[in-house]
């Protein structure tokens, strides 16, 4: 069975391909976009496509057999597995199959692709959060330094003051620190 993975996110495509390598006799290729000539040469039995790929409509339209498209595809929806298609859409992945493949084998491919998509999306989310946390920590440090300089506070007291502001207003420490810096900027005439 040959599987073609189309995903503009190359890192995620590689992760999916790597996951699929563990499934029974399988040849996997991944590409950032769909190329008709290349696909015709590879003749995939299954095309796994990221729903954020603009090429999805092209693949979705290969339903009719023609000279240029001798192996029509259908979107894979496994009725024996309720909710699978919905979960796939929510995970951001769709699978198209050449008619006649055993649904069990395709389901295996789709499930691996879905879990890898979810994994990658979670990793990306964690990374974004880590970046935001780091930025927020830097903001807090700067706000602390400002309080120490302007109010002549010790570091610990400056932090306590920020924390009190945060608790009084019910807003995150990073947001309070950012406000403080912005107001300080306005008072100094940085922004008007």
């Amino acid at each position: 069975m040959r599987v073609l993975v189309i995903d503009p996110d190359s890192a995620r495509a590689a992760l999916v391909a790597e996951g699929l390598a563990g499934v029974d006799p399988l040849e996997v290729r991944h590409r950032p976009f769909y190329d008709e000539a290349e696909a015709a040469a590879f003749a995939p039995d299954v095309v796994v496509v990221a729903t954020e790929s603009p090429d999805r409509d092209t693949i979705d339209s290969l339903r009719d057999a023609s000279l240029a498209n001798p192996r029509p595809v259908v979107m894979f929806v496994d009725r024996s597995e309720p909710g699978l298609a919905e979960a796939a859409v929510r995970a951001g992945v769709a699978a198209y199959v050449v008619d006649g493949l055993a649904p069990g084998r395709v389901r295996g491919v789709l499930e691996v692709a879905m879990s890898r998509f979810q994994l990658m999306n979670q990793l990306r989310k964690d990374l974004d959060k880590a970046k935001a946390d780091l930025a927020s920590r830097k903001t807090i440090e700067r706000a602390k330094a400002l309080l120490m300089k302007e109010r002549g506070l010790e570091e610990e007291d400056a932090y306590k003051l920020l924390r009190k502001l945060s608790m009084d207003t019910g807003r995150p420490l990073g947001a309070v620190a950012a406000d403080l810096l912005a107001f300080a900027g306005v008072l100094k005439g940085d922004a008007s």
């Binding site: 603009p54 999805r56 409509d57 092209t58 979705d60 339903r63 240029a68 929806v77 929510r90």
Partner: protein, 323 residues
């Protein structure tokens, strides 16, 4: 405020109704909390609406009918209570074809005949989706000069933002797509507009706002509020004095991400609100079904009454204060 309402759109000038309603606060005025999400393909919009990952969307009218009939996807009963735009599509041909500044269908037919004699490969044209007004306009335009779109040329599907690049690369020789993508190809010097939608089938149904019938049934008041806000968005977008602001709004990277002057050039052709074009007329659904039948997209046993019932003018009328 209601709960979060998620609406999808494709990067096209005719998504203006949704984008304007959001940016100008028309949704908020109705107490709606709307999140817009730009999607990369029509198939993804269709599937996300079907599973409820989107509550409603800017959709191709014939795609919505096909979805209700279960053609090309699992059957999901749909409702189209509002038409979002018309006349925005154009047929653009590659400058490489050498058909001059104002290429005609007759000129194309002559070229196709010449190429057949020379046993050259058929010319390739691109549309945005099999179930799209663009596909039918292109086929009508060809058929009126005796070309058979299934035999004399190849018609493939490609994403709108990639049309100009495919034309430049010689992968396709022409396309039919909504603005601003013809304006982009013309500006890049790779394409020339051969025919506007208004010259082929004026006021042909094109994009609609659609939801599943189930969602519409569960959220009748939210839907009415959405329709009122969208009608305001369409009216605002249609007003000549707002077009410049609209072009700048659509040009933003989160919306279409194409320079405002190109957006403005395409917008000149799009009709959003005047002459009651926002009312989803059942006769238009009938016209679309006839096109789908003509090109062999509808099986003989399809439930056409169910497809006609997708168009819901009564919901539009209520929102517009006409009923």
């Amino acid at each position: 405020m209601t709960g979060l309402v998620k609406l999808g759109f494709m990067p096209l000038d005719d998504a203006a109704g949704l984008i304007a309603a959001k940016a100008l606060g028309f949704f908020a005025d109705e107490g709606l909390n709307v999140e817009l999400s730009r999607e990369a393909s029509w198939a993804t919009i269709r599937d996300k609406v079907a599973v409820g990952a989107l509550d409603g969307a800017h959709m191709l009218a014939p795609m919505v009918l096909a979805q209700s009939l279960g053609i090309g996807s699992e059957a999901t009963p749909m409702i189209a209570p509002l038409a979002l735009a018309t006349d925005g599509a154009a047929i653009t041909l590659s400058t490489r074809l050498g058909l001059g500044a104002g290429p005609s269908a007759v000129g194309l037919a002559e070229l196709v005949a010449q190429r057949r004699e020379m046993e050259s490969s058929p010319l390739t044209f691109s549309v945005v989706f099999p179930f799209s007004t663009h596909n039918y306009l292109l086929r009508l335009w060809m058929a009126q000069v005796g070309l058979d779109p299934d035999r004399d040329v190849r018609i493939v599907v490609a994403p709108p933002p990639r049309m100009a690049e495919l034309l430049a690369g010689g992968v396709i020789e022409g396309f039919c797509v909504g603005e601003p993508w013809s304006a982009v190809a013309v500006d890049a010097g790779v394409g020339v507009v051969a025919a506007r939608a208004a010259a082929i089938a004026p006021r042909a149904p094109d994009k609609v706002f659609a939801t599943t019938r189930a969602w519409a049934g569960e959220n009748p008041e939210v839907l009415q509020a959405l329709l009122r806000a969208l009608l305001r968005g369409l009216e605002w977008a249609d007003a000549p004095e707002n077009r410049k602001t609209l072009a700048a709004l659509l040009a933003e990277p989160a919306h279409i991400g194409v320079p405002a002057d190109l957006i403005a050039a395409g917008l000149r052709h799009v009709v959003f609100h005047r002459d009651s074009v926002a009312r989803p007329e059942p006769a238009q659904a009938g016209w679309l079904i006839a096109q789908m039948q003509r090109w062999g997209q509808v099986p003989a046993d399809a439930d056409l009454a169910a497809a006609l019932a997708v168009y819901a003018p009564e919901m539009h009328d209520r929102a517009a204060g006409l009923a």
